[in-house]
Symmetry: C2
């Protein structure tokens, strides 16, 4: 019986959910945890480190590294959460007319206010706006009933994978490198992960033939590929897929009977000339033959220019799903009651910015452009300065918020890593952290070994200093192990 | 291959996660969905119904049925989300000094503001306050590292059950009647649910001998009981367990090697003389012998007097867990990044009300008392008026927000229900809805057949009218099927 466990505990690492035990999630793994410890030591007066603070480049969390929230969003949110203010004398002194107007409009949409549970799919009026946003973006209609407002993209991804994975042989194709929420959830749900490589030498392009081969291999090995994950713009690799690449992918998925799961949370983070094209547009452009094709698009308030991570706002659009299956997904959403309402409000704000003529338009545009322009400058700077370092190579950063440079590590370093029981890139990231205070995530955590992922979110001056430290550390590291 | 499915769909009800397909969640099931349809028809001009609006008594969602948010909470939240206001002229005209002071204090605790992801367990400063709250409530210390801030209680419950259930024979004991999130998640996670009955004739008391018997039976049948769910104050039954009852339960769980999961989200909803006693206090009062006993307490901002459901705020405290196991739960929390920050802020506000002398104290106390006094009056009114109806009996409503009356249904009604392929109580609830507009949840959805669950959240005048309609409907229903 349980209480005879040697540890004297009912629950031990041996008898709990082994899928959870085996699950890995690197974004908050060993390196960031070590960074937290070091930061605490510094705050407690430890002066032994060659740096004064940890520079967190491990997670796409813009506000935590100094990016300011956009004023308009927060003003409207404040009034929606605290409608009592609208009755008070002096409110028009603190808030612009369009802010008050927008807040009243949202309050009208939210039955019971932000303190009430909403419909399990989210507030209908906000889903209607999402549908209009999608139509405006793609030139193809969207249905309110197909939109689910979610706690960030993560909870939507979890709902969909929970629905799809029925048995251990059910396989999900994920890009390599990938964002670890996919590998983590596939493991937790006891499914099979099948990786397909992105071609680094071609700017992390998607290779359809290689993908086809992986699907065939998986079937030969007894797996049942059911869905394919697409991350566009790419995380961690920062690529942005071409229209033709997407068309080929859709045709392949239809022919092979795969549901396409499109992680499009970085759709506003485009720094190259190539524009973002949504999966929805590509599929609908293909016409009636593809009208029944099953796919999901995930979006979030956490990324883009607004970076409202703490809101945990997001949505997913389901297309082509069997109504019986969609009803099951609705039931799953219902069992969690609903996503947080402030997150739903932020989704509405994200897709309906102030318009020319609105009192907030100028400030909003200035704040937004300042953030975007800085991100673009930093993407270029990081790409260039990484490629200037011997033994480091980085593909062009077309989108998202990350650089994913390749590291040529000397054999002695790889041996030393083995000795320390670390993957070489983890060994490198720990050395980088200890010597420079830069917190990066090892590529192996993204199924992209011998790389590291660096966000380019910190302020430009900090990033410039950091890169000179990075360069010095890399040269020192290579020298030490040569 | 998938694309050969008869429906032409990759995903069909037959090939998706069958645990999800079998999962049931009644709180937003057939009756509420029918109610939504009817309400829409009425709004679209349908006058055929004998009522002008649906009265939602199906879900503990206070603000959706007219309960006003407490001003102090919303004022602080507005400033924390929109700190720019603090710099503006006239802010002190709109906000009281203690509101501004509290907002600045919270802003100081939240690195990066409410738009940044927090630590995966939640903001440390807020967890520190939660630990102080628990110590103040129980007279026993709590550890910051044992507190997890969650998206409502639901996500905490999901994390814990995901950790515990390792194989289909792993059993979770749940009270009968129960709140369906437990049955739903146990099914979704492919575990075994073992019910233990609460004794309706004794005010839904917990019967230790019957519980012991159920554990033995489960083991005989090859199940491995690992945890026991306790809902106190009770949902849906509205009971409140005695100190001695809790002591006996803890001793039993320790002896039998069961982790105790205490759903204590209604701890402030106490209307009888018997006070709420937390599981934590009971366990710690038992002394060092029980210091290693494993249990979890769940709390939420959604219930209590504040009813901030839409915030999706909550916390769980883990006690006695093996550090290795707790590390796995931390990893699981990390894979969801963090709970929404406004929900975390609301947890802090819930546990730290304004104090005597604070400028907001009087208004806060008045608003809070008005809500509590009304809930208490309604609990007494509902209990009495239900018991006045022949064929309906309701136990005293000591806590929570629900009445769970027993219905003596005539054999002909049961036959008619069978004919309609509904459980008798579902059949009854649908008739109640169609004839009175009252939306209640069938007891079978809570594993409490031949009952219905009614919230007493609607305004007192509406509830009074509703009960006269309820009485008339019941008499009509009994007559019709006699």
């Amino acid at each position: 019986m349980q209480y005879l466990q040697s540890s004297g505990k009912v629950l031990t690492k041996k008898n709990i959910n082994q899928n959870l035990v085996e699950m890995q999630y690197a974004v908050r793994g060993l390196v960031p945890i070590t960074a937290e410890r070091i930061q605490k030591e510094i705050l407690n007066g430890d002066t032994s480190k060659p740096f004064k603070e940890v520079l967190y480049c491990n997670i796409g969390n813009p506000h935590s590294v100094g990016q300011k929230p956009i004023t308009f969003y927060r003003e409207v949110l404040a009034l929606v959460d605290c409608p009592m203010l609208l009755e008070r004398e002096g409110v028009e002194k603190l808030f612009k007319p369009d802010v008050i107007k927008r807040a009243k409009e949202l309050i009208g949409l939210i039955k019971g206010g932000t303190g009430a549970y909403s419909h399990s799919q989210g507030i209908e009026g906000i889903r209607k706006h999402v549908a209009e946003f999608i139509k405006g973006r793609d030139g193809h209609p969207a249905q309110v009933g197909d939109i689910f407002l979610t706690n960030g993209a993560s909870s939507g991804i979890q709902m969909i994978l929970t629905t799809i994975i029925a048995e251990p042989t059910d396989a999900i194709l994920v890009p390599l490198p990938q964002y670890p929420i996919y590998s983590a959830l596939i493991k937790l749900l006891n499914g099979t992960q099948v990786g397909y490589s992105l071609d680094e030498s071609k700017g992390w392009a998607l290779n359809i033939d290689e993908l086809m081969e992986k699907i065939r291999e998986a079937r030969v090995q007894g797996a049942k590929p059911k869905a394919l994950v697409l991350i566009n713009p790419g995380n961690p690799v920062g690529n942005c897929l071409s229209y033709d690449n997407l068309v080929d992918l859709v045709k392949l998925c239809k022919a092979e009977g795969l549901v396409l799961l499109a992680d499009e949370v970085y759709q506003e983070n485009i720094y190259a000339d190539r524009p973002f094209v949504s999966l929805k547009k590509v599929v609908r452009d293909l016409g009636p033959e593809f009208s029944g094709f099953e796919f999901v698009s995930f979006h979030s308030t956490s990324k883009g220019i607004i970076g409202e991570c703490g809101r945990r706002g997001g949505y997913m659009e389901l297309c082509g799903f069997d109504p019986e299956v969609q009803a099951q997904i609705y039931k799953l959403a219902s069992s969690g009651l609903c996503s947080n309402i402030d997150g739903q409000v932020m989704v509405d704000l994200m897709i309906r910015p102030p318009l020319p003529g609105d009192e907030s338009y100028e400030d909003f545009t200035r704040e937004r452009s300042a953030i975007f322009d800085s991100l673009k400058r930093k993407s270029i700077f990081l790409h260039e300065s990484l490629n200037e370092i011997a033994g480091v190579s980085c593909q062009p950063l077309k989108g998202a918020m990350y650089a994913f440079p390749k590291l040529d590590l000397p054999p002695k370093a790889i041996a030393a890593a083995e000795g320390a029981k670390h993957a070489p890139d983890t060994f490198y990231a720990l050395s980088l952290l200890e010597n420079t205070g830069i917190c990066a995530v090892p590529g192996s955590g993204f199924d992209g070994p011998n790389h590291i992922r660096l966000t380019f979110l910190p302020a430009e001056d900090k990033l410039k200093t950091a890169m000179s430290h990075f360069r010095r550390h890399h040269e020192m590291f290579v020298k030490k192990y040569s």
